[in-house]
Subunit: 515 residues, 2 copies
């Protein structure tokens, strides 16, 4: 329905020319989402939502496999719940949507207005995150050490009133999963925090084919109220970093605020140690900026709503019937296959319209394998295969190849696996090539000098300053529009001196521009 | 974690004594949900949410099979969107949660208050239903007759500020799916309205084993703004009716309000005809009051989070190891089976604790098949099977039977199917026995006289009065705490006179007390 009136076989913007504009154009041309008319909120359209459904299904399987149980908690959180954790409310107060009334009445001008007689005694906050309301439930559920660990997750919408929004990356309302767990001690809670982080790392690299760095955020980037915050950071094609998932060790702060106490084996009352971890529709923005090319989106097969599209080149003549029968049989045999542990998702596109125009629509959407089939192919038992892990125009020459139907069916699963692998390899090579080791602040500034369009990330060693010393580092970086992304886990020991303080370096960090 | 300190093998309330109290006790004892502390909102716990996940998965399969595409639309709806459809906003204004601010600041008393400088120019409504915001999107998406029918669905949370709430049945926030479609003409839209209704009827009876009557609601019970509203009505064990799903033909009213216009084949501009249809977590309340018994919940196998629980009677001695190995092997062979088109869901309950206490916990949760296995069973290659389609105490005698492991594995799927069938048959027999045909208003009043505890439904014929005449009928019924449920579709032609107006009867209706 959103086909342009005239057929276009290229996006109007290339990544090199205007990455931000290209991003918006891909979302629009691939029919993933659009502005809703409600400030800061988007409408997620079938192709975008279909990718989210695939992400949900695969992530939920991993969450359940870890013994975490799904629940559902209220959308509204009483203001007083937030007030109990000072850092937490401080961090979110500036972007909270506040419900103050529960009824409308006719106003003077005849229009409807909030009913003054239906003002809430206590304002309700539309959840920006659910630590406080889930903490209140945990306080009811946890009495004894036998009740621990308590591991819950919910799939929900949350609201953070963002001033500058961008589809999928930063919207006032977004969809996510938030895991919340309670444990007997720090070690067990930290183990869960890192388990969730590793689950996210593996999910990003396996399901999304998006290489990431898993590490700890610096003190100034911690989740409000957290003792330690970890993230996975992905590099977009413009060299900027995208935080694609976070996991927090919350210590006993939220447990004390909510009263999550348990009786230990010796009969003493103890506060639980809690964690929280989340990923959101933001991952789809990361997917676009990791795999999209100048022909639009490319979707990793594991999360593609359709992995294969069968496209008969209908002619509105007598041959169409035989062609459709051939395509239906092909579709049936492909649907019987299994890839990545699930049945292969195949669409037979029988809609009317020019095949070239329909092909371009699927190319822009990034369907991994498009099979074009004309009357002659059907007669000869052949298919023409387009593999969407490279630019369409290249693919048209190099890879738009004729195969016998049986040969294609026998290799379809391997081809899907190959596309998944190729997308990851391409992204990883690009990222690794755009990370530079820099050994002084001047070199850092030079690396990010304006003449370089998409510089990438700088890897530096530092002395892990805290407090005021860290704040001055943050300000110096801010002047260059830079942020500290994270300290990668499991890195080699470092030597040398901190590029910021000159003190002996203790660890490696990544510095970059970011979304 | 919510096990009572002492072992109890009966609920404290029986259905006959206090149905409302029994309902609350089942929800609590089966650990399905609890009050959240946020007014009118509940926490859905793992067992309750697991049932919802099964309902979602199966309903979503049906929705997709009908060619409907999932999208996601904003939680917030500008007040002005509602104002465009007068009846619609009139119907919901009394129960709308209104967002008026997007920031908090410290108030005089030091506490946080909504920031007066962050007041929204236009209040935002937390969606009670999404016709208006989805209509605005459809107006962008529909230009030509080629774009129709346009069929979308979303899984979402909605908020209706209810004054009297009851878990699952009536909560301020609830979870649902809402289908929204646009069509070229009335016939196509009405066909979709009835298709969705039939999907709900078949889902309720097949998946939930809950017999329902599909029919049209009377004029006074229409969805605000609808031209015609259809419902499925189920009878609870206390004889009351529960509306378990609705489907609406909206005419062109919402299309005119939102500007959903298309160019027809002759080139003329036409308004689309729209529909909407929804089912919610309310179905879980219906499931409880349809299948629950004095031992707690009974879950139809198709929607049971665990269809089979394997319960080793651990003794904390040397035999446990062999027993657990036996149970693990049994669990593995059962997990390999397929029932109702999906892998059988089996849980091996290895938790510490008394087997009798653990058994009772699963009985209360309504797991269809519980296998108790002691050391001797393991040695003899046997299992003891409890089928939860009858009262536990009966089942203990009649059906807590010893079988060889191989025999049980070979019949497990048939047993699950038998439980599903038995629950439906029991509910249908009960419902049919509690429907009485009544031929006068006095007889109607007598049928619902106070001395009868759970009277059921009355089936009467009426002349389908409208306007003021209908309103007087509604008031006479209201005096008896009665409502008109619906006019069943596809009934026999009727004769006789209307029990309300004395005019010639034109159709059959059901009259009942309701939730």
């Amino acid at each position: 329905m959103n086909q342009p009136a005239q057929i276009r076989h290229a996006l109007s913007t290339k990544r090199q020319d205007d990455f931000a504009q290209w991003y918006q154009e891909v979302i629009s041309e691939a029919e993933m989402a659009e502005e809703s008319g409600v400030r800061g909120c988007m409408v997620i359209k079938p192709w975008g939502y279909g990718i989210w459904e695939r992400i949900q299904r695969r992530m939920d399987d991993r969450i359940k496999a870890a013994g975490v149980q799904n629940c559902y908690f209220p959308l509204f959180i009483p203001l007083s719940y937030f007030a109990k954790e000072a850092d937490h409310v401080e961090g979110f107060a500036k972007e909270m949507a506040v419900v103050t009334h529960h009824r409308l009445i006719a106003g003077e001008n005849g229009g409807l207005v909030p009913d003054p007689t239906a003002k809430l005694e206590e304002p309700l906050i539309v959840r920006p995150t659910s630590e406080t309301v889930i903490g209140a439930a945990m306080a009811r559920w946890v009495q004894s050490w036998r009740d621990l660990p308590l591991m819950t997750n919910q799939w929900a919408n949350v609201v953070r009133w963002e001033m500058r929004t961008r589809m999928f990356l930063r919207t006032s309302e977004f969809l996510w999963q938030e895991g919340h767990t309670a444990h007997a001690d720090r070690d067990d809670a930290m183990e869960e925090t890192l388990r969730a982080l590793e689950m996210y790392r593996d999910f990003a690299e396996t399901e999304l084919a998006m290489p990431v760095v898993a590490g700890e955020k610096p003190e100034n980037e911690r989740f409000p109220g957290a003792v330690a915050t970890y993230s996975i950071e992905a590099m977009m094609q413009d060299g900027k970093a995208l935080q694609a998932g976070t996991s927090h060790y919350l210590g006993t702060g939220f447990a004390q605020a909510a009263g999550i106490q348990y009786q230990d084996k010796e009969g003493a009352q103890q506060y639980a140690h809690t964690t929280s971890w989340g990923t959101s529709t933001r991952m789809i923005g990361g997917l676009i900026m990791t795999h999209g090319d100048d022909d639009g989106l490319r979707v990793p097969p594991i999360v593609a709503p359709h992995q294969i599209v069968v496209l008969p080149m209908l002619r509105d003549n007598a041959e169409d019937e035989a062609l459709l029968a051939y395509c239906a049989e092909l579709t049936k045999s492909l649907t019987g296959l299994s890839a990545f542990g699930e049945p292969v998702r195949v669409l037979l596109d029988k809609r009317p319209g020019k095949a070239t125009q329909k092909r371009w629509a699927w190319v822009k959407k990034g369907v991994p394998l498009v099979l074009e089939i004309g009357g002659r192919d059907a007669a000869n038992g052949q298919v023409s295969v387009l593999r969407r892990d490279r630019l369409w125009n290249e693919a048209a020459k190099a890879n738009f190849q004729a195969l016998s139907k049986d040969e294609f069916v026998s290799r379809a699963v391997a081809d899907l696996e190959a596309v998944q692998t190729a997308l990851f390899a391409e992204a990883k090579d690009r990222r690794d090539a755009q990370i530079a080791q820099v050994d002084s602040f001047d070199a850092l500034a030079a690396f990010f000098s304006e003449d370089k369009r998409y510089p990438g990330w700088a890897e530096v060693v530092w002395s892990r300053p805290t407090g005021a010393e860290l704040e001055s580092v943050v300000q110096r970086l801010k002047a260059l529009k830079l942020t500290i992304r994270n300290t990668p886990l499991g890195g080699e020991p470092v030597s040398g001196v901190c590029v910021f303080t000159g003190a002996p370096a203790v660890e490696r960090i990544y510095v970059a521009r970011s979304y």
